[in-house]
């Protein structure tokens, strides 16, 4: 299997889906002529033309509405909200309008929309540019939210999002942008709503998503040297959560740690913990632990980011605490 960088896998997924279906379009700030603020849409404008690949004004509400409305009238659009912090500007069109069209029309309207957005955590982007705000959209019935952690996964999940008949938010980590990994071919489509065991282990389940998966794998590798085997469960999809995948892993390990870069209260870790508490409490040999960001906005300085985001040492400490 060939190896690509994360952004190249995004680029390849879009090229393939554009070629496969004339209804696929891309709109966003810097999406066309500049080839994307971070190069992910490179070559699309030249290959597929200015009607299907368009730069937009800095107007997130209109960009989101453009995507929802175009999807309601026969396109399969991709729109970009450059950083997920700016989802707030687009939220009415996505959550108030797009998420409800199929429901309100009793199935007569569909919104096959893909929203690509970026999490810039770990790049000193600061309080208004690097939030982990997946819960804003994960809490909305009608929306789906995926968050790939590898080049192979971003290609497969982005293609799945484009082909899905519902609005799907695809979160891409800037910190993974140049990470390399094996990437499947044209038929590589990953089912939305399915987690993947990225590393098997018998002692503790570590649930995570996106760029946290790399830190989780690093922690698992180091703990293995201590004789502790961690199962790293990459959710891949934040909404809908893979209940079966989570419960199956906990049934194997009987211990659960959940890690995310969002603040703890009301984060998706609370939902994962509640699912296990409701459906598999007797499987647990220890309390559930959450490793998260603190209840504060993010600072910009490297030391502030380090203090804010859970690191490998935090993950290791949480795992060890369950095995005391």
């Amino acid at each position: 299997m060939k190896e690509l960088k994360f952004w190249q896998a995004i680029n390849e997924a879009m090229h393939e889906e554009f070629a496969r279906d004339d209804c696929v379009t891309l709109s966003g700030i810097d999406a066309g002529t500049p080839g994307g603020a971070f190069s992910a849409s490179r070559g699309l404008l030249e290959r597929f033309g200015p009607l299907r690949v368009r730069d937009t004004p800095i107007s997130e509400a209109a960009i989101a509405g453009l995507g929802v409305g175009a999807a309601m009238n026969g396109l399969r659009p991709i729109v970009e909200i450059m950083f997920m912090d700016f989802l707030s500007l687009a939220l009415e069109q996505l959550a108030g309008q797009g998420a409800k069209q199929h429901f309100m029309s009793t199935g007569r309207l569909r919104v096959p929309l893909t929203v690509r957005t970026m999490c810039a955590a770990g790049r000193n982007a600061g309080p208004q540019h690097a939030g982990s705000l997946e819960t804003w959209v994960a809490h909305i019935p009608g929306l789906k939210v995926v968050w790939p952690s590898t080049p192979g996964d971003v290609k497969g999940l982005l293609k799945a999002a484009i082909r899905d008949d519902n609005p799907v938010i695809v979160i891409e980590n800037l910190s993974l942008w140049t990470a390399k990994g094996p990437v499947g071919g044209e038929d590589h489509v990953i089912e939305i709503g399915k987690s993947e065991v990225k590393r098997a282990g018998r002692d503790v389940t570590l649930v995570c998503v996106g760029s946290m998966v790399q830190r989780a794998l690093a922690a698992a590798g180091e703990l293995s040297a201590e004789g502790i085997e961690v199962e790293v469960l990459d959710l891949r999809t934040v909404s809908p959560l893979d209940r079966e995948g989570i419960l199956a892993s906990v049934a194997r390990t009987h211990r659960l740690v959940i890690a995310h870069d969002a603040a703890k209260p009301f984060g998706f870790g609370a939902e994962v913990a509640a699912i296990v508490a409701e459906e598999a409490l007797t499987e647990l040999d220890a309390p559930i632990r959450r490793v998260t960001a603190p209840w504060a906005p993010l600072g910009t300085a490297p030391a502030q980011e380090l203090a804010y985001y859970p690191g490998t040492e935090d993950l290791k400490a949480a795992v060890r605490s369950l095995l005391g």
Binding site: A61, A62, G65, L66, G69, N73, L75, T106, D165
Partner: protein, 329 residues
């Protein structure tokens, strides 16, 4: 119905518009009664006094064109030819309603009749219309998309963003402002910085027209030209239709904010009476023919209500249907 630019409207065209406007008026009058009888739960906003805008704009469209509207949507639905009984049933929150009672008055949606939705959010449909128009442009479908909105919605950020984008991309969309004097209970003079919304069109590089919203002849002409421009790829038009909402923001609104004499002054500009005068004076339509149209409208809305009233109420059993496309309903 397409009264061409500068082409004199025919008796048949105007009679058809008269029929539509009366159907809307009688439907809304009945809706007021049904709200008072507590047969239409939820929030109901009627468009009495604004019928010419719905009839004139929708009358200029053709099969395949699409409309997005507002929380005051009944007139647009009727002008687009939606089944009166299914519409009434939806307002009565019946299983047999257009949307099975999910939407009621304010969230109605009927894509089968070219309506991509009313909207429960003021200005919410305007960016969607621009998206639908972009799809029409990419697909080369020849569709024209109309978005109705009010003077209140004209101050929403999404509307400004959408208008800039539509003009920039020359999208086949028509922005129709039903400037009816009030944003909810606040008069236009207290919430918009211009006397009519069309004055903002040059700021977007867009064609803008201010029209008497109670003059069906003027509206039809403006609509035909806007549709022509959109279909020809000449871009969007912003139409400000000056009118007055003759009832409250919602049914039950005590309307304490109304200046004295306002309604009686506007009664003299009633769009239906004005069209009746044109039909009788200019086209010699006899009074009994106009009365027959009125009787037919009154009968049609009454039949719709009688049938809908007998239908079963919406149930809670199907609330999980159609949350996601592609799942078994």
């Amino acid at each position: 119905m397409n009264i061409g630019h500068n082409a004199a409207p025919t008796r048949e065209q105007l009679t058809s518009l008269y029929r539509t406007m009366l159907l809307i008026r009688r439907f809304e009058e009945q809706a007021v009664r049904l709200v008072n009888e507590q047969k239409m739960p939820g929030s109901t906003h009627t468009c009495i006094g604004q019928e010419a805008i719905a009839a004139g704009i929708c009358g200029a469209l053709r099969q395949g064109d699409q409309v997005l509207t507002t929380h005051r949507p009944h007139g647009h639905f009727i002008a687009m030819g939606v089944d009166l009984k299914a519409l009434t049933a939806e307002l009565m929150l019946k299983q047999t309603g257009i949307n099975r009672g999910r939407c009621g008055s304010m969230h109605l949606v009927d894509p089968d009749h070219g309506i991509l939705g009313a909207n429960g959010v003021v200005g919410g449909g305007v960016p969607l219309a621009v998206g639908a128009a972009y799809a029409a442009q990419v697909r080369g479908s020849g569709q024209v998309i109309v978005t109705f909105f009010g003077d209140g919605a004209s101050s929403q950020g999404g509307c400004h963003e959408a208008m800039n984008l539509a003009s920039l991309w020359k999208l086949p969309v028509i922005f129709v402002c039903e400037n009816n004097g009030y944003a909810e209970m606040t008069p236009s003079t207290a919430h918009i910085s211009v006397s009519n919304i069309a004055l903002r069109a040059p700021g977007y590089g867009m064609a803008g027209v201010h029209v008497d919203g109670n003059d069906i002849l003027a509206i039809s002409e403006v609509a035909a030209e806007a549709v022509r421009r959109a279909r020809a790829g000449e871009g969007p038009t912003l139409i400000d239709c000056e009118t007055l909402r003759m009832r409250g923001h919602f049914e039950g609104d005590p309307e304490r904010y109304r200046p004295e004499g306002q309604k009686s002054e506007w009664q003299a500009r009633d769009p239906i009476a004005r069209l009746a005068a044109v039909l009788s004076k200019r086209f010699d339509v006899p009074a009994d023919e106009l009365e027959a149209i009125d009787r037919a409208a009154t009968g049609a809305v009454a039949d719709a209500a009688r049938l809908a009233d007998a239908d079963p109420a919406a149930t809670g059993r199907d609330i999980l249907d159609f949350v996601y496309a592609g799942e078994a309903a």
